[in-house]
Amino acid sequence: MSHTAEHQEHAGGGTKEIIRITVILTVLTIVELIIGFWMIDIPLSSVGLRLALKGTIVILMMAKAFYIVAYFMHLKHEMKNLIMTIVVPLALFIWFIIAFLYDGNSFKNLRNTYDPYFKEQSTIKVEKKAHGAAEKHDNSKEAKKASH
């Protein structure tokens, strides 16, 4: 137990650090939301801009994750041994994400090339609240409205 007792003494930077991290997390979230609101008005046709904004949001997300793990979960102030035993296995995610998203994208391209039905379905516009599956749910919505 002597180790843990000693350990407490050098723990973190106190209340000041907590406030600093809270402010950083809040600001990052607000920036994410601003980008999110901005993206509402950007048409689907401007693919590049939408992709760039989504990439920015992902980078901000990683920054938030870093601050939570490093300071709130205190990992930054632990010994290097412990940091490595956590971070190194999680590095597998880099491979997972690239491999699986690439695979998904490749599957979409294959289907668009070789499956005319799949391709056709994704070009037919559907009227809002008028067709097929949506109709059944409209009823429940109407019922809910009526009960109000």
Binding site: A11, G12, T15, L44, A65, I68, M73, S122, K141
Partner: protein, 226 residues
């Protein structure tokens, strides 16, 4: 202390001292959280894979645009979920404060901040319950998707399946976190930690609670923002 912390890592495994310099339970909590991270990671990567393999996807601003007590058909995208996000961040902050109070053997501080954390957790769960209920009334559930793709084409049920599975799994984690925090609160109030001479258990509960917040950062981004 400084000598053990800054000792070269090559000597850490030479015996005579703890190579990780934390107690057993904390190391095991970290390993549990790592396995949990892989579970959530698998869920989210699977969601990403399906989304990449589909031509269209519903617009989150079209789906998540309502607010409690707001008139029907009100258009307020992102507002409700940003409140949920801030609730969880603030409850994470009060949890850090509880852990810090534990370091200083400050029972009052621990109890006060744990209560705030529990309130935050319950508030988040209530928000999620409202949102699920609202979406269910709109006809969204596992296997049923009333929303159209962003480009106006018909959407598959993948969207709702993934949404309810992943936010449900996360909500269950929040629920367990609240239960754990309630147990910590009872133990703190009955002087269990005072008798032990340390509040180390609060730290482990804290790690779990921060992890729940961490997962929400990813879920929030993947479902509501992009």
């Amino acid at each position: 202390m400084a000598t053990t912390a800054t000792a070269p890592t090559t000597k850490s495994w030479g015996g005579g001292k703890s190579p990780f310099n934390v107690e057993y339970g904390k190391v095991m909590m970290w390993y549990f959280l790592m396995s949990d991270a892989f579970t959530f990671g698998a869920f989210l990567i699977s969601y990403g894979t399906i989304r990449f393999s589909t031509n269209g996807w519903p617009d989150p601003n079209e789906v998540f645009k309502s607010f409690p007590f707001a008139p029907e058909g009100m258009n307020a995208p992102l507002v409700f979920v940003s409140i949920m996000t801030f609730i969880l961040i603030i409850s994470s902050v009060t949890m850090v404060l509880a852990v810090q109070a534990g370091h200083n053997m400050d029972k009052k501080g621990v109890v006060k901040n744990l209560i705030w954390t529990i309130i935050g957790g319950i508030a988040f769960l209530s928000c999620q319950a409202w949102e699920w209920n609202h979406l269910h009334h709109e006809g969204a559930w596992w296997g049923s998707n009333p929303f159209l793709n962003h480009d106006g084409t018909a959407s598959s049920t993948n969207f709702t399946n993934y949404f309810f599975t992943i936010t449900g799994f996360h909500g269950f984690h929040v629920f367990s976190g609240v239960i754990i925090n309630v147990i910590m609160l009872i133990m703190a109030m009955t002087n269990k930690f005072e008798e032990r001479g340390h509040y180390l258990m609060i730290e482990k509960a804290g790690l779990y609670w921060h992890f729940v917040d961490l997962v929400w950062v990813f879920v929030f981004t993947c479902f509501y923002l992009i």
